[in-house]
Amino acid sequence: MAELSYREAIAAGIAQEMARDPMVYFIGEDIGAAGGVFKATVGLFERFGPDRVRDTPISEQAIIGAAMGAAMTGLRPIAEIMFSDFLATCWDMIANQIAKTRYMTDGQVALPLVIRTANGGGTRFGAQHSQSLENWAMAVPGLKVVAPSNPADAKGLLAAAVRDPDPVLFFEQKSLYGVKGNVPDGEHVDTLGSAKVLRDGKDCTIVALAAMVPKAMQAAEQLASDGIQATVVDVRSLVPLDTRTILNEVVKTGRLFTVEENPRLCGWGAEIASLAADECFDDLDGPIVRITTPHVPLPAADVLEDAAMPSVERIVATVRKSMR
């Protein structure tokens, strides 16, 4: 085991896959000599050279379109979109082209590509550089959607995404880039579509994603001191969704809370709540409760942003009130 930061784990994951497969190419803005604006790609340019680690102009449609054209003709490209907010500028490429072409051609075209992007708030960047947009991707058939919560998962899931034969949107949470954790030595490849139970409790199940996972874990610790034993599930992958693990944990405790960084409407937690209501109704002992950011663009000022996003305190207070 080596201790790596989340950003180092991303770079390690890309390097592992580029060293393994010469068809893996990496493109994006400032990813080369600059090492990425979040320093998540440091060292790749020096190691793999300017042909395989290519800087692009600020042209998100060209970046994603090029990745698609390359993927359908034999490469396995990784494309970086610097902030997930910028996905809006190339959403045609992602939602209309990449997501649908395999289906519309009845399988003539395969698109093994990964779109990496820095996602989420907590950095005081304001509403156009802070969104948690994994729900956009989840809503479009044909896209796999992954969002790791720790360095080991960041490396292992990124490797799995590169090896996956289908397009994967890989959301890296900005607020986690500096977080350190143990990452297995040697080749590390995880499995897409597998949630992880991080903590076992008998009273309620808290389901969280990405930056909300460490918050849910801290909340569970505090709840334990109140006598509420919470299970915490890290969803890790929205598509494919590991409903077996998630719903199994809901059945065991009879209570479900979701913690979502995204604004309220149509969040991934709503889909999980719907599945639980459909498939575990008889096992539920109380209402399903979603903890989200209010349905507002994320404000910039630290006090406003902190109050808007789900916090450990809000998770604790919400669970406590609901479990009373």
């Binding site: 290519r54 060209a62 379109g65 090029a66 054209g69 003709t73 009845d106 093994p112």
Partner: protein, 335 residues
């Protein structure tokens, strides 16, 4: 109008007959598609390229078998020009199970990867960056393949056009961008909504490219410019942007009778019908009437056979709905 006509040189007799045959086949196919629409057998919309055959034929004949074609929703002719099955294309238009895409794509998405027809794209501009990506792949794989990307005049005003052109030049990609300027952006004259007179050719200099404006209704010219631009790309000389002037014989789509076009303009362009023009030229070059009639009869037979094949197909099966979202063939999003 300063049309740069490349030296047509000596296009040999066999190539000329191929160009003629391909144009006639494309024409007959589109006309048959229209007839089947009137029979209510072709559903939805479709965007016919009647009158624009010389461009697809010129490039189709000049391309190497493993080159890539990217085209638009007005893409029947470009797909067929690569050798895709007419029967499968008509069946797709008719929503049949024996359709090219088993009923899942329809008229606007004809694709036949094994013939290098890498897709028909129905969102204006999207396929220019995608074609650049295929060219990037060919470049790094050192395969010598070239991507040819066809699009309409309206595309030159969308962002993806400019992003793709810039990237293709910066990366010196083996891609040829071919603007089919049929004078109308859907229903609106292109000149009414464009800052420059020649929507593609006048923009070429912005990307350091040669301005190329050609007669898109002249099959010899199109074949020659195709050879030149593809040859340049294959030799590592980078991208080209070609503007080919042409004219839609019909409206934008099924819903459009095209009443907005001045009669004199329509008459002028109908007289420049690429097939009529080329037929005359071949006769003048000494190819006999009987030989041309034979080409025409064979094209008609091919389209008739394709029609029979399409008509004989059963409707697409509902089993297809949840197939091929993913590479394992499934549509499964959960366990």
């Amino acid at each position: 109008m300063p049309i740069k006509a490349p030296a047509t040189g000596e296009v040999d007799r066999a190539t000329r007959l191929r160009l003629y045959q391909l144009m006639v086949e494309l024409r007959d196919f589109e006309q048959r598609a229209y007839e089947l629409f009137l029979e209510n057998l072709v559903r939805g919309t479709s965007h016919l390229a009647l009158g624009q055959e010389a461009i697809g034929a010129g490039y189709g004949v000049a391309m190497r078998a493993d080159d890539y074609t990217f085209c638009t929703y007005r893409g029947h002719n470009h797909t067929l020009a690569r050798g895709a099955s007419m029967g499968a294309a008509l069946a797709e238009l008719m929503g049949r199970g024996n359709g090219m895409l088993h009923g899942k794509g329809g008229s606007m998405h004809l694709t036949d990867v094994k013939h290098g027809a890498m897709g028909s794209y129905a969102i204006v501009g999207a396929h220019l960056p995608i074609a650049a990506g295929a060219a990037w792949s060919a470049q790094v794989r050192k395969s010598g393949q070239v991507a040819v990307c066809f699009f309409g005049d309206g595309t030159t005003n969308i962002g993806a056009f400019h992003e793709a052109l810039n990237l293709a030049v910066v990366w010196k990609l083996p891609v040829v961008f071919v603007c089919e300027n049929n004078l109308y952006m859907e229903y609106t004259p292109i000149e009414a909504v464009t800052a420059v007179k020649h929507p593609a050719a006048d923009r070429a200099s912005a990307y350091g490219l040669e301005s190329i404006l050609v007669d898109g209704n002249d099959a010899d010219v199109m074949y020659e410019i195709a050879r030149q631009t593809i040859g340049k790309a294959r030799a590592g000389g980078g991208p080209s942007l070609v503007e080919a002037l042409t004219y839609r014989h019909g409206g934008h789509s099924r819903a459009d009778p095209a009443k907005y076009r001045p009669e004199a303009e329509v008459r002028e362009w109908m007289a420049r019908d690429p097939i009529k023009v080329y037929r005359r030229r071949l006769l003048e070059a000494g190819i006999g009437e009987a030989e041309l009639r034979d080409v025409e009869a064979r094209a008609q037979q091919k389209v008739d056979a394709a029609t029979d094949e399409a008509r004989s197909g059963a409707p697409a099966t509902v089993d297809e709905i949840e197939r091929q979202v993913w590479s394992d063939g499934s549509a499964t999003w959960r366990n």
